[in-house]
Symmetry: C3
Subunit: 366 residues, 3 copies
């Protein structure tokens, strides 16, 4: 069941032109938060590409290739002014779509700036997060997952770096004792119900959403909310490759307000800080549990596999059949893209995108 | 006399399957100290391989491949419990020989854990040091060198990193003005006697022991001990490759007690600290001598040759004939291994391994 | 107009045997300052080669290959004594030209030291700077540029590292709005005159001197000096590759004394410190201008292009024709060297080297 070296390569490489990279480029990917964009541009790395993200004076957000197309200086040092982002070197000015607005000291009659364009990507905001689309046109819809699109509560957003390949950072979402995975139109669904000691019925659900997201949770019958993660409210997580050996883990928590009251607690929002840096191999020790702090436990288990783990040496058991299923979906999605089709979970029908509700509704349960 | 590029490659590479790596794997190599193993496993790097070393609840020591054979998480973060080392990720439990004791959440009827095994290496303790054998079976005997096996005195152990190839870190043991090298069954022996100004006769000896050890010292005629290094007691040193560009220098000092009295001083034992890290290019300055401190002088001379020195450019003179001899022994030992024979210095006869006494006994002297 | 990948490679690589490296080796290159040489040797890196520079007891300066030809230890740790530099390892002693003066412990009859030689380079001092020649004999003359050779004023010298390829660190010397470039015997000359608001006539000049130098400045008609940079006195700058991805930027300022009075201010001399280290991506912020401090503005614009910028993606406009001209000169100079001729700007006629005066003299102006 272990991967061959070639399969491992295929699944782990994310740069332009790689099989998995092309597949991942068919989805809108989180690239940051609305709150982190203030008066300066922000440098970002995503799918092996360096880009700069900025908000212009009219509140439009742009994502451009990092290096100025003129002579290569980084636009992270550019100035936001005059309707765009101005390179600090020779002053070329770009709008949010990469259109060249000014090329100072070129002759007034020059048509040069009409003939060239700074590479750019489409970007949209939803629920405080910014999503970028790096694939071919026509772009699909930005999925309106419930934690992003609901308006009846509060939201908190965070992001931090996991210093290893995105595959290693994604697979633990499958580490469940009892699994009954079913492929559905967005990914894989695993559900079950159980009776607690007090006789009450609990509904559990584990959604894996292509390409790298998951949402897990449960709800007690009769509880006023429809879904909550065990320790908090509704939580969805994205793992976005920075490059082959670094991943950003985005978390969005949503707490519903029912009759004016929050149904649970949510984490502190840290979106204004942008992505939190972490150090490979350095984990916070928590004396109260005699182990790494909760936030670093998964990171230690993932990063210690190495930058890109060679999965020719692993041994998968019965409880790893979710991992095996996920690999199959990835391979099928890569193949779909090669054949010009959409991979699993890409949404183009507005009817299906009003609100994507990921909860343990009755028809899914046994 | 300079090496060709190919010879240099052959002698310096230590990973699995390399000629020198295979030769070095025919010897027991020090991997750490008994004192450094307490309640947590210790990560180690040796001959280009990452391993984890731990002591179980029954005081048995194990050396396993670093990454869990299940899904690749590092066992350096494992818990010592239930007769083995448990991976922090999905809880697989291994004993000191790599046997899988538990695979939590696999179905009770599964025979999976009988069919797989975590790679492991044999390990033995002698004189407070731990030695690992990474070659093919049958393993030879762990040599009982005097400084390790004697019981009539005190011992001190230390280890520190030299940030360069093991060959560069090994050759200075030959930098002697007067040398008269003789190949013997463990390596090379160099001896001479001299009369001091007071008329007393001194016996000097320099043992190079395959593959990377040496013991030097002298003794004045009539002195109650048989051997001592110039500044202390008996000292033996090992240089063990971590990988192609890092080496651990192990030092074991032994001071005999004669009539209840230590015959000299020995260094402070630091075995509980494990290997001491050093920083490439950073050396302690000693104002009292206007030069690097004694402990860093060799390291500066070695590391400044670069990670792997290109010996096609060196120029060996008459005083370097020990270096040339050592290269010949290495080449012969590599060739022996290729032909399925033991390299020089491997011991399989228990009669010869009762106590390997490396001293200037009379029959060696002129 | 963008470069092909091959052209970019050809222009950016500086090691021995590379086309641009061979071309650059036909010029004397600054390697440091006379003031930084005191009682210890200094390690230097230039054109991809590691060397050691030292001043012997007779005040002669030597530049030798860094690693001792005997067994490879770095001579940066050597001792200056007995007429040369002695390796700290086995004590071989070299004079400033690499001649082996002593090989301790070799037999007294050995002729070994007459038959070998430590590689060395010619070095000369001018104006407080040290220049090295790394090309084939016969070496050309060390050019006596005015800021180095004049005796009628004060001089200040500095050097700092730019963490990118020398090409990226050199081209900004061409970023001028109004340019009228003319190839002359040392490089490219750009001049113009203008009338200021007060009616006075200003003469401007921009010299690019092969291979990586420039001198810019202007003078108001009737001013007692012949030339000054806008903010100070006469300034010349050199960009010398350490290797393919690091460059040292040397600055020499000269302030003439006319009738006992300095005609302007010059920077503080920091030649005793040697080369100032800088950190890639770290730039001093200056709150008073809301931007990077003046000394770091160019470095930010240059380094952020990356270690070696891929110029296949740039877009050069009308104002970049100086950049295009410079590329042509480089290609022609590389071709000249291939054909055994001197590249542009190499000086062999002593008549032309009495004093190379780079000022806006009347016959150059329009």
């Amino acid at each position: 069941m272990a991967l061959t070296k070639e399969e491992n390569e295929t699944l782990t490489r994310v740069g332009p032109g790689t099989p998995a990279g092309e597949m991942l480029r068919r989805y809108w990917q989180p690239i940051g938060f609305a709150n982190e964009l203030r008066d300066k541009p922000r440098r970002k790395r995503i799918l092996g590409e360096d880009v700069v993200m900025f908000r212009d004076e009219k509140d439009r957000v742009g994502v451009l290739a990092l290096r100025c197309m003129h002579r290569g200086t980084s636009l992270e040092f550019g100035h936001i002014e005059n309707g765009g982002l101005r390179c600090c070197y020779h002053g070329w000015l770009y709008d949010v779509e990469g259109k060249v607005l000014e090329t100072p000291s070129e002759p007034p009659t020059s048509t040069f700036k009409e003939r060239v364009r700074q590479p750019s990507y489409k970007v949209q905001e939803l629920g405080g997060a910014l999503f970028v689309y790096m694939g071919p046109e026509p772009a699909p819809l930005l999925p309106r997952y419930d934690v992003l699109a609901r308006q009846d509560g509060k939201r908190a957003l965070r992001a931090r770096i996991i210093n290893c390949n995105y595959r290693t950072a994604t697979t633990p979402t499958w580490d469940e004792g009892e699994i009954n995975p079913q492929v559905f139109e967005l990914g894989v669904l695993n559900t079950y119900t159980r009776r607690a000691a007090d006789g009450n019925r609990w509904a559990h659900v584990n959604y894996f959403v292509m390409p790298t997201m998951n949402k897990t949770g449960n709800v007690e019958e009769g509880h006023p909310t429809e879904h909550r993660a065990s320790s908090s409210c509704e939580v969805m997580r994205w793992r976005v490759p920075m490059d082959d050996t670094s991943t950003i883990h985005y978390t969005v928590e949503f707490g519903a307000i029912v009759n004016g009251k929050m149904m649970g607690t949510i984490m502190t929002d840290r979106s204004a800080e942008g992505v939190q840096e972490t150090t490979f191999g350095v984990y916070r020790w928590d004396d109260s549990i005699g182990w790494f702090g909760r936030e670093d436990q998964d990171r230690a288990a993932q990063e210690s596999q190495g930058a890109i783990f060679d999965r020719t040496t692993e041994h998968l058991g019965y409880t790893d059949r979710g991992v095996i299923l996920l690999r199959r979906l990835y391979k099928e999605s890569i193949e779909a893209v090669k054949q010009g089709r959409d991979p699993l979970g890409v949404i183009r029908d507005p009817e299906k995108n009003k609100l994507i509700r990921l909860i343990p509704h009755e028809d899914l349960l046994d």
